[in-house]
């Protein structure tokens, strides 16, 4: 019994200390105006904006690069902005929590690349309605509760990839399509644009359509299985370069890469190298918009008007022009 009393005393003391610190902290935060210390007025600190970035995952190179380039863009405006980011690890629940934490942190503007539209919509809406500007990057939410959406047109890329596939195959052939994350906007649009074109050609048959979540290894496995199941495969359309490279590895392993048309998206350095070697046919530079996001964020914070949608341009890269775009020092 005596032991229990001691524990309770400890608990109560600890809680009191916790509360003390908690309120002390809040006091500091609320303090406005110049702080007076030792009779001297400390120099007023220049106000910096805090930008928070919620990234959906950091396991694919395109998204790691997005963050790195964003950090580079932040460095150019170091005197004006502070920057923090979170990584949702491909989990919608974690991303909801991340956004809440960024708001708790007191961000002045939110940049978010949502993992999936529906689950993130309520929390992003809530942030926007609090008066915090929101830039949605690459993927959007389902309502219009955001300040600006920045992204490339996946539909357009899909169409271009479709046209390239038709041209390379001469309007006839067996095609495998490797999809990204099911239900994600880029996946839906990259597929839709592609089919808008190739479905018009009776000679082109998309015999297999499987998701590999934009990752290389799952794509490799899908391609391995496809090569087992189909004696003849003429073309592969992968929703990103990682998966295209996975498919290439699978085809190479069984010596069926010769004459195989492989089209990817993103414009990854490794894909450029593969195009130079003639192993891949084409890719489409899919800009991540990180630089534009920081620049647009600054405009919004300074009270300038920005358009609701910013569509980033894309470029088709093939053997003819790959040397112009290959940069050995690129992260990506």
């Amino acid at each position: 019994m005596k032991g229990k009393t001691i524990v309770w005393v400890i608990v109560i003391v600890v809680v009191l200390v916790a509360l003390f610190y908690a309120f002390r902290g809040r006091g500091e935060r609320r303090a406005t105006g110049p702080l007076v210390s030792g009779g001297k007025i400390s120099a007023p600190k220049k106000k910096k904006w805090l930008i928070g970035f919620s990234q959906s995952t950091m396991i694919d190179p395109w998204r790691i690069n997005m963050l790195k380039q964003m950090q580079d863009a932040v460095k150019e405006h170091e005197d004006e902005i502070d920057f923090i980011y979170t990584d949702a690890k491909n989990d919608n629940n974690k991303q909801i929590a991340d956004v809440q934490d960024l708001v708790t942190r007191g961000i002045d503007l939110l940049i978010i690349s949502p993992r999936e539209a529906e689950p993130l919509t309520p929390v992003v809406s809530e942030v926007y309605k609090k008066g915090i500007p929101v830039i949605t990057l690459d993927r959007n939410i389902t309502t219009s509760d955001y300040t600006c959406f920045i992204g490339a047109s996946n539909l357009e890329i899909g169409r271009k990839a479709g046209e390239r596939m038709v041209k390379e195959l001469g309007g006839k052939g067996v095609v495998v399509e490797i999809e990204g994350i099911l239900g994600a906007t880029p996946t839906i649009e990259r597929s839709k644009g592609f089919h808008e074109v190739v479905d018009k050609y009776k000679g082109i048959k998309v015999v297999l359509k499987r998701p590999a979540d934009y990752l290389r290894e799952p794509a490799r496995k899908i391609m391995e299985d496809a090569l087992q199941a189909y004696k003849k495969i003429d073309g592969v359309y992968a929703h990103n370069d990682e998966m295209a490279l996975g498919a290439l590895a699978a085809a190479k392993a069984v010596g069926r890469d010769k004459g195989l048309v492989i089209i990817g998206i993103d414009g990854q350095k490794e894909a450029f190298t593969a195009i130079m070697r003639g192993e891949m046919t084409a890719t489409y530079i899919y800009p991540n918009g990180s630089k534009e996001a920081i620049e647009t964020a600054l405009k919004i914070l300074k009270g300038e008007k920005v358009p609701k949608h910013i569509t980033l341009p894309t470029v088709e890269v093939t053997k003819e022009n790959v040397n112009q775009y290959y940069n050995p020092n690129a992260y990506f």
């Binding site: 600890v14 809680v15 809040r26 809440q100 708790t104 007191g106 999936e116 998701p211």
Partner: protein, 312 residues
């Protein structure tokens, strides 16, 4: 078996120290909205971890919880989307589905006399496969305004203050506490983890108790899945809860329940869940980089488990 106060309360003290440190290093931590956020987001994991607590106390393990969560989420959302059933019935289907998968675990373990690790590992893949098959690999999206009850389970706040998820978590914890402390079922759970043979010899139907334990774990994972559909604004996906089995086990073990079974309890698991939730929160609030976060999280888990082991 007398325990010193330190032994009995060190996990709770660990949590308190973490709370104090967090409020010192981040003034944002103690803001009411932040506390609300944290208690809301730990709820689903906490409920799964409570189910896991029964299993681990009895000396078993359940690796299928993440898959069962996904399957129940899809069953409930699918019942509404594909079969246009009323929400309440759909929720019941999700719960029954979860319980059924748990029941299967229990039957294979007892009647088939197989290791829990192997059986639940097998169910982990099969149930996930079922979820993908049932949804055809496509996410199910429900219109939030058409399923208010479901949305409220995940996103609602009672009196604009207590998240519905947290209320459910508290209720589940209370009921489980009563089950474990004050019923013969609870005594058998502890007994199985301590000395299964002794329990059997005292005339208890060990098989039935085990089946009940795994069914309960499945039921609670199913409940978590249904809440997750609400939390994600009406979306259900067969890839929900990937890797959650390890997080649930971590919540149980960090709370101080022994993986060998027999010692620990629901209170420990609630504390373990809060420790993990607060840790994630404070690392985010301090803007710690993602790779660094992973390292710190691992280090703290080692430290926590070491502290709670030292006196044994």
């Amino acid at each position: 078996m007398k325990k010193t106060i330190w032994e009995r309360y060190r996990v709770a003290l660990g949590l308190l120290i973490l709370i104090i440190l967090s409020s010192i290093i981040s003034p944002d931590f103690t803001r009411p909205t932040n506390i609300q956020n944290v208690v809301q987001r730990v709820s689903i994991m906490g409920i799964m971890a409570i189910g896991m607590t029964f299993v681990i106390l009895s000396g078993g393990i359940d690796l299928s919880v993440g898959s069962v969560l996904a399957a129940s989420a899809c069953l409930t959302a699918g019942a509404i989307k594909y079969y246009h059933l009323p929400i309440a019935i759909a929720i019941l289907i999700g719960l029954l589905g979860g319980a059924f998968f748990g029941f299967l675990n229990g039957i294979f373990i007892t009647k088939g006399k197989m290791q829990p690790f192997v059986v639940t590992l097998a169910l982990m893949t099969s149930v996930r496969g079922f979820a993908f098959l049932y949804t055809n690999g496509q996410p199910i999206t429900l219109e939030p305004s058409e399923v208010p009850l479901l949305i409220n389970l995940g996103l609602g706040k009672i009196g604009n203050f207590l998240p519905t998820q947290t209320l459910i978590f508290i209720l589940v914890a209370l009921i489980s506490y009563i089950l474990l402390r004050f019923t013969s079922f609870g005594r058998y759970v502890y007994g199985l983890g301590g000395n299964e043979e002794a329990v059997r010899l005292s005339g208890v139907n060990v098989e039935r108790v085990k089946v009940l334990i795994y069914t309960l774990s499945g039921l609670l994972s199913g409940l978590g899945g249904i809440m997750m559909v609400g939390f994600q604004n009406g979306l259900a996906n067969a890839n929900f809860g990937l890797g959650y089995e390890l997080s649930a086990i971590a919540c149980v073990v960090i709370g101080g329940t022994s993986l060998a079974g027999g010692t620990g309890g629901v209170g420990n698991t609630v504390i373990g869940t809060l420790i993990i939730g607060i840790l994630d929160n404070i690392l985010n609030l301090k803007g710690v980089g993602t790779y660094m976060q992973e390292m710190i999280r691992g280090a703290i888990i080692i430290f926590a488990v070491y502290i709670s082991k030292r006196k044994e």
